[in-house]
Symmetry: C2
């Protein structure tokens, strides 16, 4: 009945609460904050939100074979939920509507783990020229013979002492000016944005200014609280991008923004709320108040950029993929609902194109390929892959539909970088025995012990692919070697698979395997990257790369050799392959601390030529050839001795 | 009991509603919208909110002598409510707390009349150079080969077609950009503020831009909806300043802002809400939507300026009377809650000093004394009096505590310019018979008929004072001639009084008189003006005025001769005295239509030297001498033949 409310309990967490009649179990989990995976954003296609319904806890009768409290919206394909599982109450949470009190059991695999946010700030020398500077003033008190207004008094003092003329004042700063000057005996500190506008006033002396650099990734959000006067990172805080609950990939979110009621608003609100939390926690770590943050610089891909600003991303999802704006945006933090200093601005870096956003511009100003003579390839590995190729003469960029394989999605036992995720894998070429290492555990697993493996994360997937290829478990084309004789290899109904972790080594109660479909997903992802690099090289007439930079949230965790072996990029001297970590986040930090770099970003972003891969001649052939390990025809002289003959 | 609610009925209007236990009757009237006067803002000193409580309508018993449903906060002085009146249930509404169901009778005198807002726009030639201009664009649609962002596409077209470079875009305008360009087949009109910022985008062609010029007076608010492309006034709308309910004079409002819970916020909100109404009604009259208004210019005195912006006015109420800001303020309309075009700015004109505000600057740029050779005195008569003296060489300004006498307050039968207000008076020198004219009635009253007189408004008060002086009813010093033989003159307990309208000519059931106290109040008001002019003339070394300009809400309704006769200003050729109407409102209109005049306002406002009268030498003597009609010692060669010997 509409209007009715039912109690839902999530096990094993024990989280409970009431939800309205007809709400899906996935939405209920989101509402109550129960950790539950969802990759496809509730379309019923990824199968990650599988749960078991245990009705009758509150209800008076128990009929498992036809759950009376749960309505199935759309029949789930058998490959996701078998008939037998269905009879035992297994369902997809996104496809189940609640019509009664229920208990929901969330299996380990479906539990959204606490992400290990691997977005540390890299040590970089950044020239300091922040947008916001603080100035200390001692004013002469107003008298009947000198009844000059407070603002004009401040203005005159700024002109006299710091040669700052023609300043305006933010409305919110103006509102607190009078009390501020009088509270402190006419001594105050003003924060001036771009030598144009007074954005904050504080009583007395307050030398230090604080700013927040923010990298909003498709999957994770990281904030770096910086001292604007020293440039130091005082605190780092991060979280899952809360938008993930509304769709793991960008197209799902674009769809949610278009179709759900207030969809765009919700997607904006959750990320703003998240940023407010990050700002609060980072401020607490640094021992300051959130309201002392007087500047923010933000990067994110074009879609994230739009959602963050509340701009409809629909155009990014359809040809010709046009952003609402390329240029950097300065908007009052309060207009977005960001709770920092009331007069502060948010600086959002510019976008290059519909698929190459402000995050790539962050990479651009961090790595400065436009100042290099060498031919450089920068690969930003994230949920979306972006590539830059070139040097001081010319720069190209493109983006690839890598798919979420490197993030652990669309991989049978893929998962995010969370405790229990297998992140390193080595396979003995002779015995095919596997050693692996999980996040949260220092040592390698070699003794069939349970060290809490739950799945395989991005860096582990690179390793697995490279190792099964190197040890002949799969061939160049990605096919499993059916003749393989090892208990770890088997052929099931849905194809061959190789066991990475045995059931007893895991907390999920069954083997963690890599299957043919997984290998195909990895091939598509790496092939897209390679193909993108290749097409750009052809366009630029480049035969050999001088340097490759691997950037991205987990860029610095990737084994460079594994990446080279599977053919993530064309041949390059391994000594000239660098993993630089979160360069996009570094770019945000650089923009926060240096306004010259903001200008540089706006200029350079427009100079990078975006290459639309799908319209390139021979795209299909280039892509198909790139699917092989490491490539169907290309030579890799620098990998000589590493690759099988 | 806290939390309880009681029914209150106001008679004769019949307005009723429920209010919380303990609320004052004045607050209940404000809440329910019952018209009830209040001059002192609830301090219990003005006596204008006198009402009669008729308990028992809902209650079970009726004890008038000690009303059980009403608690008296502070004993009311007998001069405001006599013992006998008190026994009959008369109370001050502001001093009575509600503790039960009551019926309140509001006597005619205490009813707040519908103000006749006399703020028409004057015909003036204004050079057009508005801050916001509209540009029509036809864009080439985005394609895969030209996927330039929407904003950059607009930017490029503006640069190409209109040579407008380096524009930014307002955040709210950016949010609607994508849908706007696509809705209309890539044809759109953009509104650009100061050739800097795109503040609005509209689909298709929209040639006309609309702006609102606003004059917020202490008592009335007027809005002039203008066509920014032709300069024409399309519609005018006005209302009582809703802040009047919280105190008629500025000091009461400053007190309310300081002491009442959320006082400042309330005072700001009511005036913003009022402006939204004015904008909506003016837009409706002109046949446009409120959201089509793309610019607003506002004037008001310094206190009103602060309250409008939500700035604490406390400093304006205490020495050294310092405003928070002199300079003009440009603030996003949305930051103030004004519901016009989402990206529009509000331009608030600059203040000269703590008591000489943006309204006087409006007068300044309307009359341009700084471009004149003649020695000019501008008198802006409102609830607060402001004076400007000078010419192109130098300008002085000052403000006088005129008191509210000219607005009808502190005058026994004073009232605002509302229907029934006596606005013109002539007294026969021989018979001392009185002829008068009331607002809302075309003809003069000469036959003792009831033509609905309720009190005397500002222009009537000028006439009364001039007429009783000219006919010898009072002498030069303001004292009544005790020997006067006419039935209209009598001496009561509280002194002598002269009947202007007989009881039968009124709707209030008793004579409308002018008493000794009234004459004293008029003397104080006009003496303050004269004294201000005199001190400035002395400071500037000026003996003779070349021209006098009477400005102000009711400036054009004043009889110039009456004003000269009572000595509102030093001697001047009556032919060179001009009544220019609402020059402050004209100034707002000029600033709306011409940005050069905005700059001129900022520059000129700082060049006018504010004269603090109270610190002038001989202030006391100068003021005392100015109290006489027309002056104790000064000569008035230009009034020869008009004044008694």
């Amino acid at each position: 009945m509409p209007g009715q409310k039912f109690t839902v309990v999530f096990q094993p967490s024990g989280l409970r609460g009431k939800v309205a009649d007809g709400v899906s179990i996935l939405d209920a989990a989101r509402e109550l904050g129960a950790p539950l995976e969802s990759v496809c954003g509730g379309k019923g296609t990824c199968g990650k939100c599988k749960i078991k319904i245990e009705e009758g806890y509150f209800a008076k009768y128990r009929v498992n074979s036809s759950l009376s409290s749960v309505e199935t919206i759309k029949a789930t394909p058998e490959k996701l939920i078998s008939k037998r599982q269905f009879q035992h109450g297994y369902r997809l949470a996104c496809q189940s509507r609640i019509h009664g009190d229920i208990v929901v059991f969330v299996p380990e695999e479906s539990r959204q783990g606490q992400q290990v946010v691997r977005k540390e700030a890299t040590e970089r020398k950044i020239k300091l020229k922040p947008a916001v500077r603080k100035y200390y003033l001692e004013l002469k008190p107003a008298t009947l013979h000198n009844p000059l207004g407070d603002f004009e008094r401040v203005q005159a003092a700024l002109a006299e002492r710091y040669k700052l003329g023609d300043l305006t004042i933010d409305y919110q700063a103006l509102l607190k000016l009078q009390n501020t000057v009088r509270k402190s005996g006419w001594k105050l500190t003003v924060s001036v944005w771009k030598q144009q506008e007074i954005i904050d006033v504080e009583a007395g002396q307050s030398a230090r200014g604080y700013g927040l650099a923010v990298d909003i990734g498709t999957t994770t959000v990281a904030g770096y609280l910086c001292d604007l006067t020293s440039g130091k990172v005082l605190a780092t805080d991060a979280m899952m991008n809360p938008q993930v609950a509304y769709g793991e990939d960008l197209m799902s979110r674009i769809g949610y923004a278009a179709k759900a009621k207030d969809g765009l608003k919700k997607l904006q609100q959750v990320v703003i709320r998240g940023l407010n939390q990050i700002a609060a926690r980072a401020a607490a770590k640094a021992g300051i108040k959130r309201a002392q943050i007087i500047d923010i610089a933000v990067v994110g891909n074009t879609c994230i950029h739009h959602l963050f600003l509340g701009i409809d991303p629909a155009q990014l999802g359809r040809s010709p993929f046009v952003p609402a704006i390329h240029h950097s945006v300065d908007v009052k933090a309060r207009d977005l609902g960001l709770k920092i200093a009331a007069g502060a601005y948010v600086h959002v870096l510019p976008n290059e194109a519909g698929f190459v956003g402000a995050d790539n511009v962050g990479v651009l100003i961090a790595e400065e390929p436009y100042n290099q003579d060498e031919m450089l390839l920068i690969i930003d590995i994230g949920t979306n892959g972006e590539l830059i190729l070139g040097n001081r003469k010319k720069l190209l960029s493109t983006s690839c539909a890598t798919g979420p394989a490197f993030e652990g999605a669309e991989i049978r036992h893929g998962m995010r970088a969370a405790p229990g995720a297998i992140e390193r894998v080595r396979i003995d070429p002779a015995t095919k025995e596997v050693q692996f290492k999980v996040i949260g555990n220092e040592r390698w697993n070699t003794e069939d012990k349970n060290i809490g493996a739950r799945g395989i994360c991005g860096s582990g997937i690179f390793d697995v692919a490279a190792q099964v290829f190197l040890t002949g478990i799969i061939d160049k084309s990605g096919r499993f070697n059916i003749k393989l004789k090892t208990p770890r290899f088997r052929v099931k109904d849905n194809g061959p698979e190789f066991v990475i972790a045995k059931a007893k080594e895991t907390t999920i109660g069954h083997d963690i395997v890599i299957c043919q479909k997984d290998i195909r997903a990895i091939q598509l992802a790496k092939g897209a990257m390679y193909c993108g690099a290749k097409i750009m090289m052809q366009k630029l007439g480049v035969d050999q790369l001088d340097r490759v930079i691997l950037a991205g949230a987990f860029g610095s965790y990737i084994d460079k050799t594994s990446a080279a072996i599977i053919g993530l990029f064309p041949d390059c001297d391994p000594k000239r392959v660098y993993a630089v970590g979160n360069a996009a986040g570094d770019g945000a930090r650089i923009a926060l601390l240096n306004t010259d770099k903001r200008k540089e970003a706006d200029v350079r972003a427009r100079q990078v030529e975006y290459v639309e891969l799908t319209v390139a001649p021979d795209f299909n052939m280039t892509f198909t050839r790139a699917l092989a390990f490491p490539h169907q025809v290309d030579k890799f002289p620098h990998l000589k001795g590493l690759l099988p003959e």
